[in-house]
């Protein structure tokens, strides 16, 4: 036991002496293997523990571990010191060119439609709207009937439709979500419903067969046209800036009455008139209105008790206006040179 202790102490001293002489990392590494490697001198003390009498094993074991920790620590310290010193020698040969490009990883981007959708949803979420969704494939009832589009009415021409069969179609707007939510729940309801829609229209720079809409509606006991104007004005100011002028004008949607169209001052010419706004100074941004009593009746709400507003906007259109994109097809080509820009 005594012998073990002495040898250990001797080895410890040796390490410190040899360490003092070393001034190259390479030599230091060799020294480290000599003492701390698998068959290193300090390591072997721990291995030899099984040969000492059982009763002194705990004390010696503790001691050996202490020495090992101490030696490991001093090596770590020396390596650090030498590392700081050595590069300065290399510097004389190779200058650090900090203008060389760094090691960058690939960077992706969200699709511009997603970026603007997230923004739109975020604004309404902040105003207390909850997100709801519905299927892309809808029945005639949810897409038209319940929304007060009578069969054989010219209002149906407003939305050219893809049919699966006579009763099944690709939704032409996100408004069916209004019906689905109202059927299941009771007011107050403050809902925003983003989603994909489809129109049977020829594909060109202005129109595409699929697009994204964000629908919103609020039903409660005393919702007024003023609330609608307020929420939409606040939304547009958040999205396009506080100074932008807005106007509401009459329109027609079968599921709202009164119906309105909301315009903003042209983002390009600030209202003076240009090609983008067809020299009107205004850009159509969304459709809205007070929910038609027929719609309430269809979902079993009493229109004398509840009133509400609804609105819907095309995300592609808003994105095009925000970024000055002039061809809707770009969104669905997914050209990386396009996606990289946003």
């Amino acid at each position: 036991m005594k012998k073990y202790q002495e040898d250990l102490e001797k080895a410890r001293k040796e390490v410190f002496e040899e360490l003092a002489k070393v001034d190259k990392i390479k030599n230091l590494e060799e020294l480290k293997i000599k003492y701390l490697g698998r068959k290193g001198i300090i390591t072997s003390f721990l291995k030899n523990l099984k040969e000492v009498p059982t009763e002194s094993r705990p004390t010696l074991g503790k001691l050996a571990n202490q020495v090992k920790d101490q030696v490991e620590a001093i090596f770590k310290k020396r390596i650090k010191e030498l590392k700081i010193r050595e590069p300065s020698e290399e510097k004389r040969i190779e200058l650090l060119d900090y203008t060389l490009p760094g090691r960058r990883g690939w960077q992706g981007k969200l699709h511009p439609i997603t970026q603007i959708s997230e923004k739109i949803i975020g604004i309404f979420y902040g105003m207390g709207f909850e997100v709801a969704k519905g299927p892309d494939v809808e029945t005639d009832y949810y897409n038209f009937g319940a929304l007060n589009f009578p069969k054989d009415h010219p209002a149906r021409d407003m939305q050219d439709t893809f049919y699966i069969h006579d009763d099944l179609l690709l939704r032409t707007h996100t408004s069916p979500v209004q019906i689905r939510v109202m059927e299941k729940r009771r007011p107050p309801l403050k809902i925003i419903a983003p989603g994909r829609c489809y129109r049977h229209e020829a594909i060109n720079a202005r129109s595409y067969c699929t697009f994204h809409q964000v629908e919103g509606f609020y039903v409660d006991t005393d919702v007024t046209f003023a609330d609608l104007k307020g929420v939409l004005s606040a939304f547009v100011w958040e999205l396009f800036g506080k100074e932008i002028a807005v106007r509401f004008r009459g329109s027609f949607f079968p599921f709202t009455e009164p119906s309105a169209e909301m315009d903003i001052a042209c983002v390009n010419c600030k209202g003076k008139g240009c090609g983008l706004c067809k020299y009107r100074g205004w850009l159509e941004i969304l459709g809205a209105g007070m929910i038609d009593p027929e719609v309430f009746k269809n979902v079993g709400y009493d229109p004398e008790v509840y009133t509400g507003y609804a609105f819907g906007m095309g995300v592609e259109r808003i994105t095009m206006l925000k970024y000055g994109i002039d061809d809707i097809r770009l969104f669905y080509e997914n050209d990386l040179r396009f996606l990289r820009q946003f």
Binding site: Q107, F225, S233, N334
Partner: protein, 793 residues
């Protein structure tokens, strides 16, 4: 619908400029899309009189004219055959730029100087006639500008009407809105004409077989008409609103339609085989030639006007060729009727046509405006065709349609609009829209039948709002509604996954989910797709069933444009049909990867992506979400047979991953390797632990040991690490495979795998011996199970 500014001015007083008028109408829901000025380019065209015509000395077909334009005489060379002395003509002066794009300059024609041009209607852009120069009314003053002389200056408002506003398909209807907005009333034309003693009812009787489809049919007869060209003013009016002049009789019916909205039809009375009009449904398969000379096959949806023997028109849609008014017509049978809008709509959709008449009837005409429209036409036929109007109207109207009575509560108006309008103001607005109102506490409103879109209180509230002005109503900037808004777990994870992948260098794509079934079926032959009945094309006729399919399209697009390094994902739906139910729509996450592993960098070697890049991304995603993915070999069609795997979470299949098969890449004309994965988002979501529980940090130190073994190639590394875990049990904290080596010193068919194992006990410090013991056990077990050979270092 085109509306002439000047025509409106004839019917209602207002002092707005065309631009201001357009804004007012648009605000009130009658959208003016564009304003087209007329008479532009005619500033330097004046009325002149030809005072002398001489043959051109050098050319047979040319004449040298002397033209007086007031202050002076001009010498003009002209080639028109109808040029003659003492007629008044439009003269374009030097410097004029005509609407057709011609600029007038001084020219020399075969040696004779010419100082202007005598113009045809066509050259002036005011008519179709180009046979010769336009001959003007001899009473016009010489030297007057042509626009002044012919009253040509006008603006055309192009309306984009919503389908509810049938009434605005007429100038009077638009004038009514203008009057309501401005505060004046419509000056309807006075209808006055003479009737001769002969009775209409002796000439024609009207029989309606289907009064539901045709609630009213009125006929008048005008004898001895003279078919000729319409006068200039009538031609101009029709042309200004986009209609072509045909002859005086047809023009009168079109004029009355534009003015009142009501479509009329003029038949050649003498072509009827008997003195009778019978309105009936068509037989299915019945043939009829319409006036556009097309033979149409009809069905029961079509309503026919017949003479009791043969059809003469398709009711409300188009007249027949045989009974059309022609230059031989002597006697005219004038039809003014009201048809059920749904019948006209179904009929014209069946025929696949849309006409001025059908557009109006399907939106709803005024059943009580029928006789008025007929009479207005009689007045004009008497005036312009010298017709003799027979006495009386044969008016078959068995069940008169009465105006709707609507109760309007002023309180309700203010409640919905958040306005503070007085009952009086509401009454004023409604009356300006030609409604009758009786005032009590609530208002009793009689809605005229020309506004079939107004039948409820809420409809009248909209009328008040739009005439009062949407911009004059309040805007409330207070918040209301519930206090809490929720975001679903699904939405939170969608956002999280999207942002995670973007951070990993992936571009999000949104693809057209209407795809080509031929190609889709090559990727997933068993899928039962959702098929469109009326696709735009075969290439876009089914809803997609595979995001990998859609992503390959994007990769192809980009590679063709020299974008070779593509890392993309889409979170989108796939669609599958189901019996008697809405199709199944499942949200999927698709990823695809192709090209270089890393961006080109001076310090990095260039390598191509492989399976482990995609697998690594998914493993990182799994770790982000707190799940773990396992792969099992499973053949899926779009993937290469030896590189096709299913991904499972806790034994549930959530998706596929692998290298896209060569024959699939060829379909998309893609060169180079593509690795792709597709996961079912709902199943993935189900595997994510929603509740997290804290684990106390370890109190005792770990012991690290490395283990390098040689095994046969076909031994999967995961089997080995699983075995290590089984043998080591709780004491094994972590196993990391840090090296895979083949080659020098390793015999062929074998590979070297090196694992770093971290041992740790929860309750004590592990001694070397304890670790060594387990480690040896592991080595033995690996030797036994896999024939592994321990590599000495």
């Amino acid at each position: 619908m085109k509306v002439s500014y000047k025509w409106l001015k004839d019917l209602v007083d207002f002092d707005w400029s065309p631009e201001e008028l357009a804004t007012r109408l648009t605000d009130a829901g009658v959208e003016v899309e564009t304003i087209t000025p007329l008479g532009m380019g005619l500033e330097k065209v004046v009325v002149g009189e030809i005072t002398r015509v001489q043959k051109h000395p050098q050319a047979n077909h040319l004449f040298v004219c002397e033209v007086e334009i007031g202050s002076e005489f001009l010498q003009i060379v002209c080639g028109a055959p109808n040029v003659k002395e003492k007629v008044k003509v439009p003269v374009a002066l030097i410097g004029a730029r005509l609407p057709i794009g011609v600029e007038i300059r001084k020219t020399t024609l075969r040696g004779v100087d010419s100082f202007g041009m005598i113009c045809s209607e066509k050259e002036l852009g005011i008519g179709e006639d180009q046979k010769g120069i336009m001959i003007l009314d001899s009473r016009l003053r010489i030297g007057l500008t042509l626009t002044e002389a012919l009253d040509l200056e006008d603006c055309i408002l192009n309306l984009d009407l919503t389908p509810n506003r049938a009434d605005c398909l007429s100038i009077i209807g638009v004038a009514r809105d203008v009057g309501a907005l401005f505060g004046s009333s419509v000056k309807k034309p006075q209808i006055r004409f003479n009737e001769i003693d002969e009775l209409t009812k002796d000439w024609v009787e009207v029989e309606i077989e289907d009064p539901a489809a045709c609630p009213r049919y009125a006929a008048r007869v005008i004898k001895d008409v003279e078919i000729k060209d319409s006068p200039f003013w009538l031609k101009r009016k029709l042309e200004s609103v986009g209609m072509r002049s045909i002859n005086n009789v047809v023009d009168v019916t079109n004029f009355v339609m534009m003015e009142t909205g009501h479509p009329l039809h003029a038949f050649d009375y003498d072509l009827f085989s008997q003195k009778k009009v019978v309105v009936r449904r068509a037989e299915s398969g019945e043939k009829f030639i319409t006036l556009d000379e097309v033979e149409r096959s009809l069905n029961k949806e079509n309503l026919l006007i017949t003479d009791g023997k043969k059809p003469v028109a398709i009711a409300g849609i188009m007249g027949g060729m045989e009974s059309e008014v022609s230059s031989n017509t002597k006697n005219v049978l004038l039809e003014s009727a009201y048809f059920d809008p749904r019948v006209i709509r179904r009929g014209r959709i069946f025929l696949g046509v849309s006409t001025e008449a059908s557009q109006r009837f399907e939106r709803g005409m005024d059943p009580n405006g029928v006789v008025n429209a007929a009479n207005r036409a009689c007045q004009l036929l008497e005036e312009l065709a010298d017709g003799k109007v027979l006495k009386g109207v044969v008016d078959n109207y068995p069940c008169p349609i009465v105006p709707a009575q609507v109760t309007l509560r002023p309180r309700r108006v203010n409640q919905i609009l958040a306005t503070d309008l007085k009952s009086k103001e509401m009454v004023q607005i409604l009356k300006r829209l030609d409604m009758e109102v009786s005032e009590n506490q609530d208002l009793r409103v009689t809605v005229p039948t020309f506004r079939p879109d107004l039948s409820r209180e809420i409809d009248l509230i909209e009328e008040i709002a739009r005439i009062y002005g949407y911009d004059k109503t309040e805007t409330s900037m207070k918040a209301s509604g519930s206090l809490v808004t929720r975001l679903s777990e699904e939405d939170r994870f969608i956002t999280r996954i999207k942002h995670f992948l973007v951070g990993k260098g992936f571009y999000e794509v949104l693809t057209n989910n209407l795809v080509d079934p031929k190609i889709l079926k090559r990727l997933c032959p068993e899928i039962s797709t959702v098929n469109l009945q009326n696709p735009l094309s075969q290439e876009m006729s089914v809803l997609t069933g595979s995001l990998v399919h859609n992503l390959l399209g994007v990769i192809s697009w980009n590679k063709k444009r020299k974008e070779e390094d593509v890392r993309i994902f889409e979170l989108g739906k796939v669609y599958l049909t189901r019996e008697n139910e809405l199709p199944k729509e499942r949200l999927h996450l698709g990823l695809a990867l192709s090209g270089k592993r890393e961006m080109i960098h001076w310090g990095t070697e260039e390598t191509e992506v492989d399976l482990y890049d995609l697998k690594g991304i998914l493993e990182s995603l799994a770790s982000n979400l707190g799940v773990s993915f396992h792969l099992n070999q499973e053949k899926t069609i779009p993937l290469k047979s030896d590189s096709s795997f299913q991904i499972t979470v806790d034994g549930t299949k959530v998706g596929i991953l692998g290298e896209v098969a060569q024959e699939i890449l060829e379909l998309f004309e893609i060169e180079g390797k593509v690795f792709a994965a597709e996961l079912d988002f709902e199943r993935l979501l189900a595997g994510i632990p929603m509740r997290k529980t804290f684990q106390p940090l370890p109190k005792f130190p770990p012991v690290n040991r490395d283990l390098a073994i040689l095994v046969e190639e076909d031994v999967l590394s995961e089997r080995i690490s699983d075995k290590i875990k089984t043998v080591g049990g709780d004491l094994i904290e972590e196993i990391t495979l840090f090296d895979v080596y083949r080659g020098k010193q390793i015999s062929p068919g074998k590979k070297s795998l090196a694992f770093a194992i971290r041992y740790r006990a929860k309750d004590k410090t592990l001694t070397d011996q304890e670790v060594e013991g387990i480690h040896q056990k592991i080595v033995l077990e690996l030797e036994k199970s896999f024939g592994a050979i321990l590599r000495k270092q």
